[in-house]
Symmetry: C2
Subunit: 328 residues, 2 copies
């Protein structure tokens, strides 16, 4: 067993004891979980309250993570540290003071946008990306100050490049893949990946089928070859996993993710009217016990043990250590 | 200078640099400040945000206190630790999950009622006190669990006695005086003071003129003789100061405290139509530099140095140590 913890930097499952036990069985020590797609501050707090109930109910399996050391503690105690994040800045409403409040409540990642224009920046589904807004510039400075990571996974190209430029601390794209491997609105250009990684940022590879070459039929070797290509181009130290696992979710949830309360007609996002629901996961990555398939795949494409440990958690751990405290 | 920190367990001033500097000059190491009278959760968070701005602006004077050790740290660093409390349970709305959330945000005291009936218990201005409600019983258990102190300063007699009975941890009446000394709806009966102190609870003496014998004209010796009487009856270890200092507040604030949004006619609380505003403070207690007058007064009525240190902060410090962490 590796000395390095295993971290998945994005999941949004239909949480249950079963899933927490799978994290335990799979030896997953840190998971960044989404607690808001379109929620207001008060609605997001309701989701925190639900997590508090899970922490109270399953203390032998999970606890709230606030720092990199909590991942190390999770490994020692054979539990999983849960880190909170927003896929949309809706919980901070129009109030910059809520950034510090959310950090105090344990939130560690916030996307400046989901798929649409937000108050902070432009999402990757808008026709025109006007970059980081006036509020967005202030919010990035405040996130940098308190230690709330800027995540641009769902943002447009221009907004992402501007955020990288504005942010004084390394940023993250927690869950996406390179567009050169699989063309998709959510996958990222060489320019974005280069600028992100050169500024010390982290990129998490997604296992969400719409982000994969050949979708649900993508082979683990294809996925790992893509990782090898990226590591060769930009350096292995900037990459990790952000699986985007949405285990056990009913299709109503992907409808909520895509449509929130903003549309009277149905937006299908990366799906379509005839394939509106969650796509099937590739058979080699179905739940939290599947990470060993990726490790094996990485070995198969030529990574050494240290590199595999770095990709499977070590790189995120270093980033967590650097990112979650106040700016020095 | 005493080795024991100085703690005031209730203030609601119109906060300013001037007042924070007076805390510094007066050597006040811990202050429990009110951050909600009638606010919803979201409105209370706005008040927290304002405190965050003050902490950022005056780091040499104040910081957020979360434990007794923060008071010790304040004394070493010559600063003041600020502890948050609610005078009304309105910020937890009808949602028990908000108790843990508020504790995470730093809240350490919550009154089960202000002057009126609340969702949890009955305030001391209602004609009939029906005791702790169904939600109130659950809320006390949750407050005990997480380490949020039950404060019954504004509650009715029956509600207070029931809360003492229900609570598995010592409670507080942070700011009131004995009714035997000065009859007032807000002052407490011998029965309440006896039950509170016998269960390990703390009682903070108020300097708010409506709670004082002879009001604004009360002499420091009268006040200290009352303390000596109480210490003789129930033991010096259960008493401290909760001044209820409302320095520099405009009279609109006492109107808000008394009326919130619940009345179309004006309630004058302890005042009257012809004396609707804040009463004048006694000349020996006007701001945070005045605590030495109380110490001298306590010496004058025969307390020894150790007893004075206990009343001026040591007793609250012990209570803070015991009360602010999760139930063991």
């Amino acid at each position: 067993m590796s000395e390095t913890p295993l971290i998945d930097c994005l999941q949004y499952a239909n949480w249950s004891e079963k899933i927490f036990r799978q994290m335990h069985e799979g030896g997953v020590h840190g998971v960044h979980v989404t607690i808001a797609y379109h929620e207001t501050f008060r609605e997001m707090v309701l989701n925190l309250e639900q997590w508090n109930r899970w922490f109270e109910r399953y203390p032998e399996l999970i606890f709230i993570g606030r720092s990199g050391d909590d991942v190390r503690r999770a490994k020692v105690e054979n539990r999983t540290a849960i880190f909170f994040g927003f896929q949309n800045p809706s919980p901070i409403e129009d109030d910059i003071g809520l950034i510090k409040i959310c950090h105090t409540l344990g939130v560690r990642f916030m996307q400046l946008t989901y798929n649409n224009q937000s108050l902070l920046a432009t999402g990757c589904y808008e026709d025109e990306d006007t970059g980081v807004t006036r509020f967005g510039r202030q919010a990035i400075a405040e996130m940098n100050r308190v230690g709330l990571v800027v995540d641009m996974s769902h943002s447009g190209e221009r907004s992402t490049l501007e955020a990288i430029e504005i942010s004084t601390r390394p940023m993250a794209i927690t869950h996406a893949n390179p567009a050169r491997w699989h063309q998709a609105l959510r996958n990222k250009s060489d320019t974005v990946i280069k600028e992100l990684t050169q500024s010390g940022g982290m990129f998490g590879f997604s296992l969400y089928p719409h982000h994969l070459k050949n979708g649900s039929a993508c082979a683990v070797t294809e996925f790992c070859e893509m990782i090898a290509d990226m590591a060769g181009r930009y350096g292995v130290e900037h990459f990790g996993i952000g699986s985007d696992l949405c285990q056990d979710q009913p299709d109503s949830v992907v409808t909520w993710m895509r449509n929130g309360r903003w549309s009277n007609t149905t937006d299908y996002g990366e799906g379509s009217k005839t394939a509106a629901g969650f796509p099937d996961q590739p058979d080699w990555f179905v739940n939290n016990t599947s990470f060993s398939n990726i490790s094996k795949g990485l070995h198969g494409v030529g990574f050494c043990d240290d590199e595999i440990a770095a990709i499977m958690g070590g790189n995120w751990l270093r980033f967590y250590d650097q990112s979650f405290g106040p700016e020095i």
